[in-house]
Structures are given as C-alpha cells and as structure tokens.
C-alpha cells in the first residue's frame, strides 16, 4: 500500500466522489428497507432484486470495492485505512448502499486473510470479493449450545482426505448457500478446545443436506445441516490441524462487536411513542410508558457513546480488550427492551401478525429479538467472559 499524504487524499476524495456519483444508480442510494429481502448476497446462483442492483454490484466489484481494504492480489480494493474512510464517507454522503452483504465478507474473509494458506487466499478471497460463493457458518450443534467447544461433528483422517459425520444447527441460510465453514473435531482424545479444526465444505458434496428451522417470529434464516460420510479434501483445512478454536474465537469477537454496534442504532422511539400513544399537555398520555421510553433512550445513548469512545481509543492505539462482550450483552438486552416497548406503545396494532414494515412487523420483530441474547453467545456467556477475563474473578471449583 502506498503511504498516503494529505494531497493524495484530497485528490482521492474528489475522484471517488465523482466516480460514485457517476456509477451508483439512483435506486441504490437509499437505505436498505426490508433487511435480507432487499440486499444482494451473491452466490453461484445470484439473485438480483432488480437491474440497478446488478449494475451497482458489478461496477463496485470491478474496482475491488466490495472489499475495499483487502489486498489487490486477491481481488480486493487495496485501499489504505485512510482511503477506505474516505470511501465510506463519500458513500455515506451520496447514500450509496453496500453492493454486497455476506458472511464471506464479514466473517470468513478476515479469518482467511489471517490464517489461510496462499492457495486458499488465491481461490476463496477472490470468490468472496466477486460475490461468487454464498458462505454459511457451521459452529453450533444441537447438544452444544453455549458450550460451543463441546461439539461432536467429527472429521476422521483417511490419509488423503477427511470423512465428516455430524449435525450443525443455526446455520444461517444454509439452504441457499454454496459452501459452509465449520468447526469439526479432528482429535477425539485431546482436551475439548485442542482437538478442533476449521474446515471448508461444499454444500453440493455427497452426504450434505439441510432443513430450515421455523422461529417464533414465523420465519427464519436458520437451518439444520447434516453431514453423512462427507468426503472433504485435506487442503480444505484452514490453519493448523487441531488449532481451529483460536480461529473460532477470533471470528466470535468480530461477531459480538458487530452485533453490539448494530443495537446501538438510535431508533427515534419517542416519535413512535407520540404517534401511537399521543400527548396530553405535552406529555405522553401514559406516564409509565413515558418513563420507560425516556429510560430506553438514555440507555441507548450510553451504549452509543461507549462504542464511540472505544473507537476513539482504538484510533489512539489502545486495545479494546474484552469490550466486545459487554457491547454484545448490553446491546442485545437493550434491543429486546426496545422491541417489547414498541409492542406496548403500539397497543392492539402491535399484536398484528403482518409482513409490512409499517403495519404488523412489530410483533414479529419482538419475537425475533428474543434470539439476540442467545445467538453469538448468550447474555450469561458474555457475563462469564466479563467476570473472568475483564474482572479476573476466579473459576469455581466445587
């Protein structure tokens, strides 16, 4: 990467702005409205919701700007952090959407760049940047729950390949995805954290099958995924054999931080409250709800400033440490409270079981948020992590 001087950035900003303005179709300059139904996720059988989405994706892909900071050698944009900040700012100014959303970009890519072999980087990073493979995540198992490292799915060494048997659960979009990155047990005898490897499996291979899981919200991205004597080539292991736990932990930190940040978004709940409950003498007509709304707003601002502070500290060279755990804990508990409050504020309307973003989605969303304090490590697990790693409290020996 080139060292960036102020003059270069000014020129880069102007060029970037001009390019975005010329190449981003108008319809792609608005916030994503309906979550997954409205975004492009890539894959072997890509589904574009409209022509503009395709055009925008292809133009950004050709510049490597689906993954702006990844090395050019693997198809990324090769931008410095400073240049990437300019790109983000200019995209925000014009309201440009991200052209591609995927687990490959958010989770697997960073892990491969850190732990992958040269061959793996050449093949998979390029595919992720180009949106050619839809990746799913295979961590949890039916019996493992919060004790993730107790996983049982086995990969037995057959000399030139592994044979995988077992079952994964909560595999997001596994029914639509092309490949899955999995934690598997490669050493049955070793202590549970030391016998795990990180394996890449193609969903087309013989013996792989999936089944969607319906949630209390009435729908779900989640599936169960089954492996029945699946043959996996040895080159599909990422990092060292039996050292997969460190990769998994690294990925979970990313996941927790991003979940926490997601929930700090300040939804103008007081406006929603005024619309649904109404005002009496300038105050919300229900005094108890009024207190709850104020309290939620204050707590949300607290999380927002805490995240802002962590970002500023990181820029000043301070390590964030185990903060991802308290962001995840606070953020997901807050999000549950927020969605409960919205049901209460909306009254009978909040009980409608609908699809629309304005009418009837409140009830489904509330149901969905019940998972927030479970997925990505339960609230109790986050509290354990804080107690042990941040506060240094001793382990129980009963």
């Amino acid at each position: 990467m080139n060292p960036t001087i102020a003059g270069d950035l000014t020129a880069f900003r102007a060029e970037t702005h001009a390019w975005l303005d010329e190449n981003c179709p108008q319809s792609q300059r608005a916030p994503v409205k309906n979550g997954f139904e409205d975004i492009f996720a890539g894959g072997r059988n890509p589904h574009f919701h409209n022509e503009d989405q395709k055009v925008w994706f292809e133009r950004m892909r050709d510049k490597g700007w689906t993954a702006p900071t990844w090395p050019k050698a693997y198809g990324g944009g090769g931008l410095s952090p400073q240049e990437n900040k300019v790109l983000e700012e200019e995209m925000a100014k014009l309201g440009c959407r991200k052209p591609l959303w995927s687990f490959g970009l958010m989770m697997l890519g960073p892990a491969l760049l850190h732990y992958g072999s040269e061959e793996q980087k050449q093949k998979y990073i390029r595919e992720i940047v180009n949106g050619e493979i839809w990746w799913s995540q295979g961590y949890s198992e039916p019996g493992s729950g919060s004790d993730l490292a107790s996983l049982k799915t086995s990969a037995v060494d057959m000399g030139d390949h592994y044979v995988v048997n077992g079952q994964k659960v909560w595999t997001s979009y596994a029914d639509k995805s092309d490949m899955i990155f999995c934690l598997v047990r490669t050493d049955q005898e070793a202590p549970k954290h030391s016998g795990i490897s990180f394996l890449l499996i193609d969903m087309r291979w013989e013996g792989v099958s999936t089944r969607p899981i319906k949630l209390i919200s009435g729908k779900s991205p989640f599936c169960e995924t089954f492996f029945d004597n699946v043959k996996v080539p040895k080159e599909n292991i990422v990092g060292e054999v039996n050292q997969g736990w460190s990769i998994a932990k690294n990925l979970l930190t990313h996941e927790r931080t991003s979940i926490g940040s997601l929930f700090s978004n300040i939804f103008p709940i007081h406006e929603f409250a005024k619309e649904k409950v109404g005002l009496e003498s300038g105050k919300l007509a229900d005094p108890v709800l009024r207190t709850e709304v104020a309290r939620l707003m204050i707590d949300s601002l607290g999380l927002k400033y805490a995240i802002e502070q962590t970002i500023d500290e990181a820029k000043a060279g301070q390590q964030p440490g185990a903060k991802s755990s308290y962001f995840k804990y606070t953020g997901s508990e807050l999000n549950k409270t927020r969605n409960e409050l919205m049901v209460a504020l909306a009254g009978y309307e909040g009980l409608h079981w609908g699809e629309d973003i304005k009418e009837g989605k409140i009830a489904r969303d509330m149901c969905r948020t019940k998972g927030n304090s479970i997925e990505g490590g339960t609230s109790e697990i986050q509290l354990n992590v804080i107690a042990k790693r941040v506060l240094g409290l001793p382990t129980f020996k009963g």
Binding site: G282, T291, G302, A306, Y326, P394, F396, K397
Partner: protein, 369 residues
C-alpha cells in the same frame, strides 16, 4: 472531539489521585465526622487544593484563572469521588465559579473570582426551598427598597451553607427569578447547620429583610439553569469516581473473601451481578466524558445531556453502592468497613441537583414527549 482525555487532562487526573489518596482518604472523612468538626471540611486541605489550581480550573484567564475547562474539573471531581473527599469543591469551585462566570458583572468577577481561586472565600448556592429538587419553585422575595432590595425567605439543603462567606440566593425580584450575592454575615440572616447522612455540610438558611444592592444581582433563571446543568454533569463525574472505587473494592473483596472453602468471587450468582455492574459503569464513564466535553464546546443540547447523565449515573451508583454493601456481607453493614460510606454518599449525591425521577421527566419534556 475524540472521546478520550488529552495528555494534560490525564496528568491532572493522576496528580489529583495521588494527592487525595495521601491527604484525603476515606479515613479523613471518618475523622471529620467523629470529631463533629465545626467546619465539616479540612481548611488546610482546601488551601492546598486551591494552591494546586483546582479552584481556578474553569475560570477565564482574563481573571487570573487557568481556563482549563470543565473536562479538567470533571477529572478532579472524579478523583474526589474515589476518596469521598469532603471539601467545598461542589459549593465553591463548581457552583460559585460557574454562577459568577456566567452571570456576574465585570466588577463581581474582578472582586470575587480571585478570592475564590486563592481559597479565601467559600460560596454557597441557596436555591432549594421544597423537600426535593425544584429549583424554579421559589417563594423567596426580593422587594424593591430604595436603591436595592430586601430579601425574605427560607432556603433548605444549602451545601456548605454554614461555612460560606457569600451566599448566592435565588429570589423573585421584579416578577422574575433572580440570583443575588449576599454576605453570609449580613443582618437578617440566620443559618442552621444540618448533619447529613454522608457526613457533609448542608444548612437551612433563613433570610428576613436582608438588604442587598441592585448590583449584587448575578443573573436570573437562565444562569441558574445552566449553572445547575454544569453542576449536574460535574457532580456525576464525582459519582462515577465513587462507583468505580466502590466497585473496585467489591471486586477485590470477592477475590479475597473465602466461604465454603473457595473465594466468593467464584460463585456465578455474584460474578454475573459484578459483570452487569461493570457494563453499566462503562456506559456511565463514556457518557460523563461526552457531557463534560459538551460543556466546554458549548453544546446547545446541554440540558438534555445533563438530565440524561444525572438520571443514569444516579441509578448506577445506587446499584453499585447497594451491591457493594451486600457483597461485603455482614462486615458491609458495620461502621468499621468503609463500603458503607460510599452508599451514604451515594444517597445524598443522587438527590443533589435532581434525582432519577426528576431527570427522566425533564429529559422526556426536553425531547417533546
């Protein structure tokens, strides 16, 4: 503005920490309490604090101050909260300097600010009249009398009221809320000291036809409201120091105290409560710095921020101070153990300048609901 301390602010904080640990540990507050000290604070300590510039931090350089700002004062307050240092920081270095700087005439600033900075003058803001925080519900009157006014009324919960040289009194003058600087020894004033739960000073002040001059006026409602918002934020900084110290002591105790043959800190029931408190304290710290910076940048949303902060910090300090006592177990409810001092100070600080309910209500009203 990045949400981190500058190098100068960090240095100020660490020097305050060192000084207070040596000169004003919790043990010093216990001694003041047990001796029923006439002043209720250590006067030589206050002079040293003034010499270190703590009274001059927020005062403009034009009047001989340091112009360092409220982020700086907030760091000192936080450290005072850690050791529960009893001093006129709130009444004088915070309220006195702020009211005079915001509402004072040139002459008032020239004459009063240097006296405060040198540690020669204690001020007390006499503005509460009801049984809880209602700063704009004022019955005290200032009636026109010749060239000046005659003030009559009764004020409660006047912090450092019985040791103050100057009282800053709110009264209705010419139909509007006004603040006046009154000499504490003026004829018609009677002051009754009240011992508070936290062993600090507050007083009831009665004024009967106390005569002041027209140019003793030091602003009106706007000055009072903005001064209170600044005070709420800086007091919150003190409260954050207290919660951090109470929490640190509690965690240390959880690691050391053995029950059933193991440290009690290994019990998950206690670990989760401790981890929850940690998360809440982290939010309070970030919010406090955000609000201190908002004072220095003259943020136009200061009122909403002050109420946000005072509500949140009050609730979290209540939680942390109560949990501290509980987690110390039997020893936690004895007078020998210092954790109880934090709980008592917390209760007073929670109500000072408005409690949780007051500020939730105010936050909602400012946001239009």
């Amino acid at each position: 503005m990045a949400l981190i301390l500058s190098e100068e602010e960090k240095m100020l904080k660490s020097s305050a920490k060192e000084f207070l640990a040596e000169r004003a540990p919790v043990e010093a507050l216990r001694r003041l309490r047990d001796s029923q000290d006439n002043y209720g604070y250590d006067r030589s300590l206050w002079r040293e604090m003034a010499e270190m510039g703590w009274t001059a931090l927020t005062i403009d350089e034009a009047y001989g101050g340091l112009g360092f700002g409220y982020v700086g004062l907030g760091q000192i307050m936080e450290e005072c909260g850690r050791t529960l240092a009893a001093s006129p920081m709130v009444s004088t270095a915070l309220l006195g300097t702020t009211v005079i700087s915001l509402g004072g005439s040139e002459a008032q600033k020239q004459s009063l600010l240097p006296e405060i900075m040198e540690g020669n003058m204690i001020t007390a803001l006499a503005f509460e009249e009801k049984n809880s925080h209602r700063p704009f519900d004022v019955s005290t009157t200032a009636e026109k009398s010749g060239e000046g006014y005659r003030i009559s009324g009764k004020k409660v919960f006047v912090l450092d009221g019985h040791v103050a040289d100057k009282l800053i009194v709110s009264a209705i003058a010419d139909g509007e809320l006004s603040l006046f600087i009154v000499d504490a020894k003026a004829s018609g004033i009677s002051i009754e000291r009240k011992f508070m739960m936290d062993s600090r000073n507050a007083a009831t002040v009665s004024l009967e036809g106390v005569e002041v001059k027209a140019d003793d006026r030091v602003g009106g409602k706007d000055v009072l409201e903005k001064s209170l918002d600044i005070a709420r934020i800086c007091l919150s900084a003190e409260m954050v120091g207290s919660m951090q110290e109470a929490f640190d002591r509690t965690i240390a105790y959880l690691k050391e105290r053995q029950q059933f043959g193991v440290p009690i800190g290994s019990f998950q029931a206690l670990q989760h409560r401790a981890a929850h408190m940690f998360s809440e304290i982290e939010l309070c710290k970030a919010m406090t710095l955000k609000c201190l910076q908002a004072i220095d940048k003259e943020d136009k949303h200061l009122a909403a921020k002050a109420s946000m902060l005072k509500a949140k910090v009050g609730e979290v300090l209540k939680l942390v101070s109560n949990e501290g006592v509980q987690m110390f177990g039997g020893i936690g409810v004895t007078d020998d153990e210092e954790i109880g001092f934090f709980m008592k100070r917390a209760r007073v600080a929670q109500q000072t300048f408005g409690d949780y309910n007051y500020h939730l209500d105010r936050f909602a009203s400012i946001n239009g609901f």
